[in-house]
Symmetry: D2
Subunit: 238 residues, 4 copies
């Protein structure tokens, strides 16, 4: 399965328009180190914790999307995405526990500026615009993670044996995750047919690219935690 | 099972404050004729069609509620209610088909003023207020239907044999429906503990009573369709 | 001055698409009786009272519009309309006082279903859609009143001498009111250029026509109050 | 005139609860250097540019507040604040021009993460909560600037002669600015009486303190630009 069928659609055009920003996101150093299994644990832990807080607000954004739709098939599609996030969150906590992060550690952690920035930007786009604007802000996360997961799984250079991040990679390259992404992309293209038009392309591309850059900043936040931690460790070991 | 445990809580106080308006709603002539099996078919068909359109917007209101919450347990509770409505809607269509109403009849029917009034009032309360205001606007429908369903089932005067509305009565007196209602009431009381206070009681009672009156108007809309239809039929048969 | 310059723009197309519904609104019996000075006082009083409550929520809708815009010139244009309503409301009360309606009569009057229906519909369109959807829901009131006011002033059949409604007619045909309308239409066309497109025309026409029909229902609510009152008076005088 | 009359009210309690965070904000190094006239020009320019973008979204938040209110006196109070910002923005551009910043420089500058963080946080609080939550998020900016302006003007240590920032200090200590702040605080306390209560205090304090911290981060963003610029200048001059 691939997401290539969406290349000719609005999603494909927005992804292309994001250009280098899209490339920076899907092949971020964080992702490369995940694939090689060399990412510092502290970086991954920081990412996991903030990703939980991110997903809470991302679920709120999908709920907002449901409230902006008016037909049952569209509402069901968006509700399915909302459910996927809401039911994933407890699994996320289980996975976090394997990384030594307790539920209270996570829930009580302060939101990083990168988390707040990204989620509240998406919510504001949703409130100030329509369902198409909101979906354009949601797609970089939804479809980008599938591209990253699939890309890593299909890349022979990806280390899967003894890679502590192998389960993460499997998860985002998984058929069931991809089916959910495809459903979201289908909803996006449906809404684009109803509400799109060339006059809106630049503004939608601006939203899509901004969300893409906020994704890169989110990876970088994780990476920085690894660096700081390394720096502290190396400082201690001198 | 009963809903009596909520009598001392905010729900119980609001229900009491609604007084005669609450009584008018839960023992509306429409309900009495349902219980007796004497409701004109045209009245029920009108009700069923508009109830589908109502539920679409009611689901949007629950989605809005999810977007206004900030913790996973609260979001899950509200999402469960949203799911209950969204998954019930196709069953609703199946049930409508038994009453001779096709999906396209229903989806293409214009919203009655009573439907538009009620649903947009609830949505506006949600947008202009907080989660507690919104829940106060949602509760008369959610908990009132359970009270009606349970009340009819427990009333020996209710006709269940050869009553074309027996399935409707069973549905709203059903354990699974009641469990959902109880979960909604629990969420309501939780949010009330966080955000309530005596200063807000009058405004919340105003919202609750307004929604209660809009419920009565909704029954009346159904009833009027029956009367019109009867009038037409009796006019024809002269 | 005329609004004819907007005929080729989106507003002109939407107005044309509304067809008979538009005609019913701008030449409603209520309007004809205003022009002839024959409208029952009770009808006008009912209209005035509900129009105050309507304008409160209409101002909220313009405020929502401001919150959905992102550039200063657009925000200023919408804020100007908001200000026009908010500063007009005390004048509205002064005018009402001349018709024997005190501020507390008005503020404490229950919203008529027609008022609730119309205003909450507009607000919901604003929350679920974008600035263009919201403006399409606002235009029938804004531009329709100018068309009515200008039309009555320019029509030699309109009675201006000894017509108790002459001040009302003057007000909506006034240059300063028209300048505000023109500014709103200009904002609408600007947003249409940015966010419009043929794919959206049917949905926008549906919004515009719905709001137009809700305007007619609003006139009718006033008219009905006149009839009821007349009926009561004639019943008493028998 | 002072703002001390609000010490016993909710505002005073929230300000006290913010504790060290409030102190850090109102006596930030940026403010101290403004008072001494020693702030690097580049820091002030960065601040001015981002403050324009900040104010655009802050105006959107006040517009959202208007849309969440339901009585004319409250709506007028909030609209007055909205107008103050919207009419100040062109003056802001004139002032910026004196600092060598053209309108297009400013309008086209990318929002700093600190600007995006702060404004979208406030907007999200407004959408997910009620008018009281939103006002709690708005007050640190509104009332804090008055406290800073008044504090600097009343402090004999403040350099007013030959201080390039004297006009800025005058502006925020000015009677007309303070009157606006007082009106906002009065609205806040009114809404607090209607919708407040001890159960909400912790959550409101959390919002108020978060916004206070985002204010400090905003000053720091300006300061950092000064440091970077100095570093670059000193690097160039080596």
């Amino acid at each position: 399965m691939s997401l290539s069928m969406f290349n000719d659609c609005l999603y494909g055009r927005l992804r292309q328009q994001a250009g280098q920003h899209w490339h920076d996101y899907v092949s971020h150093t964080f992702v490369q180190q995940l694939a090689a299994g060399t990412l510092p644990h502290a970086a991954f832990q920081r990412y996991l914790t903030q990703d939980y807080l991110f997903l809470l607000h991302f679920a709120r954004a999908y709920a907002l999307l449901v409230s902006k739709l008016h037909t049952l098939p569209e509402m069901r599609a968006a509700t399915t995405s909302l459910n996927a996030i809401v039911s994933e969150l407890p699994l996320h906590l289980t996975y976090c526990a394997q990384w030594g992060l307790s539920e209270s550690d996570i829930v009580n952690d302060a939101e990083a500026p990168e988390t707040l920035n990204y989620t509240r930007y998406v919510l504001d786009i949703g409130h100030s615009g329509d369902a198409l604007d909101l979906l354009a802000a949601l797609m970089p996360c939804v479809a980008g993670y599938a591209e990253i997961g699939l890309g890593l799984l299909n890349n022979p250079a990806t280390v899967m044996r003894n890679n502590p991040y192998a389960a993460w990679i499997q998860n985002y390259g998984d058929e069931s995750y991809l089916a959910g992404v495809q459903a979201s992309l289908t909803l996006f293209e449906n809404i684009a047919r109803q509400r799109g038009g060339e006059s809106r392309f630049d503004a939608l591309a601006n939203i899509f690219t901004t969300a893409t850059r906020l994704e890169s900043a989110f990876w970088q936040m994780g990476l920085n935690a690894g660096n700081t931690s390394n720096a502290l460790i190396s400082a201690c070991s001198r």
